[in-house]
Amino acid sequence: MSVNNEFKPKIVAFCCNWCSYAGADLAGSSRLAYPADVKIIRVPCSCRVNPMFILRAFEKGADGVIICGCHPGDCHYSTGNYYARRRMTLLFSMLDYIGVEKGRARVEWVSAAEGVKFADTMNSFVSKIKDLGENVRLGDIRCKN
């Protein structure tokens, strides 16, 4: 248990500029706390997130990766998140298939108005990653030291 308490996961959050990044801003201006382990990368749209980015994050030592975009139907670019949804579904399925723990990568749709949802999502994601522990199955040993 004590080990778990000390474990500070590295978490990368890709947020689309129009909804989720703004949702994160709202969480901030509403002073809704979530762990500092989460670091946000701004992308124009969830469809900009290449599976290579996600694998790269794991390679370099991330313990969890979350992709946030506009709710389906609300994409600033009309259809971007629909493509992202298929891509990520397949990618996550493959990660599961090769034995990576379920839940290390996640997609959530967070609108610009959902500051609360953003904070809740990050809280639950961080706690999930803490439960899963350190990412040992994906990751390059060279980056571990």
Binding site: G61, D140, R142, C143
Partner: protein, 341 residues
């Protein structure tokens, strides 16, 4: 001549491992390759040829050369340490040993490759004669005798026993270490085995392959041959032939960013790849034909030209077995032979 029962090999390997790493053919997921022996690993001395040649014991597919780390605004460079512990490679075939000799010519000549030299200095090679050579073998063509490998120790697997003969000082030292497990053996059994092996070798389909015309002087005529234009066509430009080959020695040097440091490493490269020897201006060889030609010209012409006539092919036949497009060095040699070029 000494011997040990096949069933006691596990004890032999355990004993060898007490004083350093032991590399030998290990079966993982149906495939046999040389690997460091660990307890419980399934060693496999029955498969004639490991998929990859054992050259990576001395010349790993990838090895770090040094590490750079930012310390404030300065960079600290830490060279990788050289191998300084003895180790043993068990089960190399005569051709594989021939491959190491080719690598020696490259890496031990001036300037000496310290990483390779360190491994060669600390490694003891126990070679194993080829009990049942296969149709893709053609080591005979390069003057290699599969029946009598020349290494630190030569061994023969005959029936349920492994026959053991030290040939060098290193070999003697190793034999000394494991002498408790070895018993004296009848030299004649081994002689019979050699004769049997050589008889099979005579019957191998490639044994009469002629290398006529392939030598260091043949640069211009071979290079300009029109045959290359036909031969290369099925080539997929993969690196299979290169990576299974016991003599291919080309490597690339690259940097890996670990986040906190940069590791400069080298890794095998393949002249079949389009980015092989890529330079700022582009590439010397712009077509697959040229890259394909390079591989065979190097093995059969350029290398002998620079190494007293030694070919950089040992006839192990791995490329014959593994090429996805069924191309190989034999087909190249034969094609030139047929056309009389």
């Amino acid at each position: 001549m000494l011997k040990i029962a096949k069933k006691d090999l596990a004890s032999l390997f355990a004993l060898i491992k007490e004083s350093g790493e032991l590399y030998l053919p290990v079966k993982v997921a149906e495939q046999t390759n040389f690997a460091a022996y660990e307890d419980g690993a399934e060693f496999d001395l029955d498969t004639l040829k490991s998929v990859k040649s054992p050259k990576d014991v001395f010349f790993p597919q990838s090895e770090t050369l040094y590490t750079c780390k930012n310390e404030g605004k300065t960079i600290k460079i830490t060279p990788e340490e050289l191998v300084d512990q003895p180790f043993v490679v068990f089960g190399m075939k005569a051709c594989d040993v021939g491959g190491i000799e080719v690598l020696d010519r490259v890496f031990l000549s001036d300037p000496v490759d310290s990483f390779y030299a360190a491994r060669r200095a600390h490694g003891t090679i126990v070679a194993l004669a080829c009990h049942e050579p296969e149709e893709s073998c053609f080591c005979k063509v390069f003057g290699i005798d599969a029946a009598e490998p020349v290494a630190d120790v030569a061994t023969w697997m005959i029936g349920d026993e492994l026959y053991w003969k030290a040939l060098t000082e290193k070999g003697e030292a190793l034999t000394e270490k494991v002498s408790s497990l070895l018993t004296d053996a009848d030299e004649q059994v081994v002689e019979n085995e050699k004769t049997a092996i050589r008889a099979i070798i005579e019957k191998l389909p490639y044994s009469d392959l002629s290398l006529e015309g392939w030598n260091g002087d043949a640069v211009a005529e071979k290079f300009d041959s029109k045959l290359w234009n036909e031969l290369y066509k099925p080539c997929l430009a993969c690196g299979t032939c290169t990576f299974v080959c016991p003599t291919c020695q080309c490597y690339d040097i690259k940097d890996y960013n670990t986040g906190s440091s940069v590791q400069r490493y080298r890794c095998w490269d393949s002249c079949m790849y389009s980015d092989f020897t890529m330079m700022a201006h582009g590439n010397n060889r712009t077509s697959q034909m040229q890259r394909f030609r390079q591989r065979f010209m190097h093995k059969l012409v350029y290398f002998p030209a620079n190494n007293d006539g030694t070919y950089s092919c040992v006839g192990c036949g791995r490329c014959v077995d593994k090429c996805p497009a069924s191309l190989n060095i034999v087909k190249v040699i034969k094609a030139f032979g047929e056309k009389g070029e």
